[in-house]
């Protein structure tokens, strides 16, 4: 209840959020086909990046298991897409990812820092190779065709997940849960000493972030007509959310959204304008961002605001604005 009260105390942000959702909800009626496809890609990355940030943002445990959770969802749709409706697939994708996340969480309790990163990367890769092997030697077929609902359905399902992720991230951030995760990130031993059940919170946070990745995967599978393990468990899906979150900045909720949106747009622009140099330019962008924008776009913006507010004219303007 306190969370609701807090949300109501920030009317501007609340109105902005609701307005954004309404605009996105009616966009497909007016937008071009290509715009809807771009929006689908953006929403997918927003979902993945936000859910990644729920756990990895405050705790500093960098997870590269995203491709694993996403891929489980994708594969679920690839296998059962003809028998089950999309909402069931999305829920199942989320559920199986949750189970997988709890299992990984239990196995990696002792691992910290780079060992955790490597283990989660290993999970995604092991899943990919195991399914490839299973299909090649046991069932004898690699890859499947998916014939799902159209782009608009995919779009609305993704938007639904986006709303859920956003609300979840907000609730986590503004409750004891978020504080506990923050404490674990700052000093895990100290957090344990003041009575935080570190194990429980870590697994719960990790599981929570996995649910939305699995659901997003189950929905996104319909965007591709052909799916095999290499597509479903593409390692880039593990790396991009990390980059996008850091690019945007993880100190506020808007960071991952901003990061994912701008990064995706940049990526689309570079792919279409410079198909041969796209990766090169992406790499250079990445290096520059990490070197010179350590706190992401949010950090850059707050630094700009700070610098601007030091200029005399603007200072006076703000002062007059405040007194009026």
């Amino acid at each position: 209840m306190q969370v609701v009260k807090k949300a109501l105390q920030q009317p501007v942000s609340l109105i902005l959020f609701i307005a954004a959702i309404i605009i996105l909800a009616i966009a497909p009626q007016y937008a071009k086909r290509y715009t809807v496809i771009s929006l689908i890609t953006i929403l997918m990355y927003v979902n993945l990046t936000m859910s990644w940030t729920i756990f990895s943002g405050p705790t500093n445990y960098i997870s590269l298991a995203s491709a694993g959770f996403f891929g489980v969802g994708v594969y679920l749709t690839a296998v059962f897409g003809r028998e089950l409706p999309l909402y069931a697939l999305a829920i199942m994708g989320g559920g199986i990812s949750l189970g997988l996340a709890i299992l990984i969480g239990l196995l990696t309790l002792r691992l910290k820092g780079v060992y955790f990163i490597l283990f989660t990367f290993g999970v995604s890769a092991l899943l990919r190779h195991s399914i490839s092997w299973w299909e090649a030697t046991i069932t004898g077929t690699v890859g499947r065709f998916v014939r799902g609902p159209g782009n608009e359905t995919v779009y609305y399902y993704l938007l639904g997940v986006t709303v859920l992720v956003f609300v979840t991230a907000y609730v986590v951030r503004n409750t004891k849960f978020g504080l506990a995760l923050q404490g674990i990130g700052e000093n895990e031993e100290a957090a344990a000493h003041i009575g935080i059940n570190v194990t429980l919170y870590k697994i719960a946070g990790f599981g929570l972030s996995a649910i939305f990745m699995g659901a997003t995967g189950a929905i996104m599978a319909n965007r591709w007509t052909y799916i095999d393990p290499t597509i479903a468990f593409n390692p880039l899906i593990s790396f991009l959310p990390v980059l996008m979150a850091i690019f945007g900045g993880t100190s506020r909720l808007a960071g991952p959204i901003l990061g994912a949106t701008i990064f995706t747009l940049l990526q689309e622009y570079l792919i279409t304008s410079y198909p041969y140099y796209y990766m090169l330019l992406m790499g250079i962008t990445l290096i520059v961002v990490i070197l010179f924008l350590p706190e992401g776009l949010l950090g850059l913006m707050s630094r700009l605001v700070e610098r601007l507010s030091r200029i005399k004219v603007i200072k006076e303007f703000i002062a007059r604005f405040r007194s009026a």
Partner: protein, 295 residues
């Protein structure tokens, strides 16, 4: 039976030698410098492609190409470290933050290097033939280039082992791997040593690339596979333990060669399974000290 066994051992030693070189290179960069360089595999492919071009365009013997590729990649690695990672280190507050940020920067490096290779050499598979006449050992015939690769892989590994364990610079590197701050206090020029370590890592990657180009087809996008192998071997041998990487490389090479003999499609799964089991059971690796695991 004996022929099979010998075949497994020879393949295992070749793979092991390559694994060892690749892993020692990465261990110098991560274990000492705390840079988990995911672009390591790209340096390997760069070495392989340079050998390819030197051989096909300028008729340079691949084994002599080592003399160009080794110093060349050392220089690239050294410069990259002193420009990018040194700056990153000086602007990061803690080692953890530095590790995370340097991982992401090396991803950028991966994209850049891979793309340059795609532009220069294209996306197709490349291969050249050198020394592919066969010789017979105990009645089984082996391609000459595999035997040469075996000799070079083992030779470079032994040479590097001696360098690390016997030379003055090797001692400084081992000291920096144990405790960089302490090493700095007792008079090791840590900035210089870290740069040299990164350069040596790139050099070993390039040399491994030359050995790979002797036997396998090359493709610009294959680098990440080798990075993953290197990471697994480094963890297996213990982070920061150069000797662990050398021994671990050969052990894993033999294991993978045996799995390959049973069922080639299982080898990647075996690789990841060993890796994850190891992380759960003994994250500090076979020769690593427990203290490293917490970092």
């Amino acid at each position: 039976m004996f022929a099979n066994f010998l075949d497994i051992v020879i393949t295992g030693l070749i793979l092991g030698g390559i694994y060892a070189l690749v892993a020692v290179g990465l261990n110098l960069q991560y274990g000492v410098g705390r840079v988990l360089n995911v672009a390591h595999g790209e340096f390997i492919m760069l070495g392989a492609f340079l050998t390819f071009s030197l051989f096909t365009q300028f008729n340079v013997n691949p084994l002599l190409a080592l003399l160009i590729i080794g110093p060349g990649l050392f220089l690239i690695g050294y410069v990259v470290h002193q420009i990018l990672f040194q700056y990153l280190r000086s602007t990061s507050i803690t080692t953890d933050i530095f590790s995370g940020r340097s991982l992401l920067v090396s991803f950028g490096l991966l994209f850049v290097t891979q793309n340059i290779m795609l532009i220069v050499w294209g996306a197709d598979l490349r291969q050249y033939t050198y020394l592919n006449n066969s010789i017979s050992i105990f009645g089984t015939r082996y391609a000459m280039n595999r035997i040469v690769a075996l000799i070079f892989a083992v030779g470079i590994s032994v040479g590097f082992y001696l360098f690390i364990n016997r030379s003055r610079l090797g001692k400084a590197i081992r000291a920096a791997a144990e405790d960089a701050e302490m090493a700095n206090i007792v008079g090791v020029n840590i900035r210089q040593v870290l740069g040299i370590c990164f350069g040596l890592g790139a050099m070993l990657a390039g040399m491994a690339g030359m050995l790979i180009s002797l036997m396998f087809q090359l493709q610009a996008s294959r680098g990440l596979e080798y990075t993953v192998i290197a990471i697994v071997v480094v963890v297996f041998g213990g982070l920061g333990s150069i000797n662990g990487s050398l021994i671990g490389g050969f052990i894993l090479g033999l294991v993978i060669s045996f799995v390959n003999f049973l069922d080639p499609s299982l080898s990647l799964i075996a690789f990841y399974a060993i890796f994850m089991l190891l992380l759960i059971v003994r994250p500090s690796g076979i020769l690593g000290r427990r203290a490293h695991a917490g970092r």
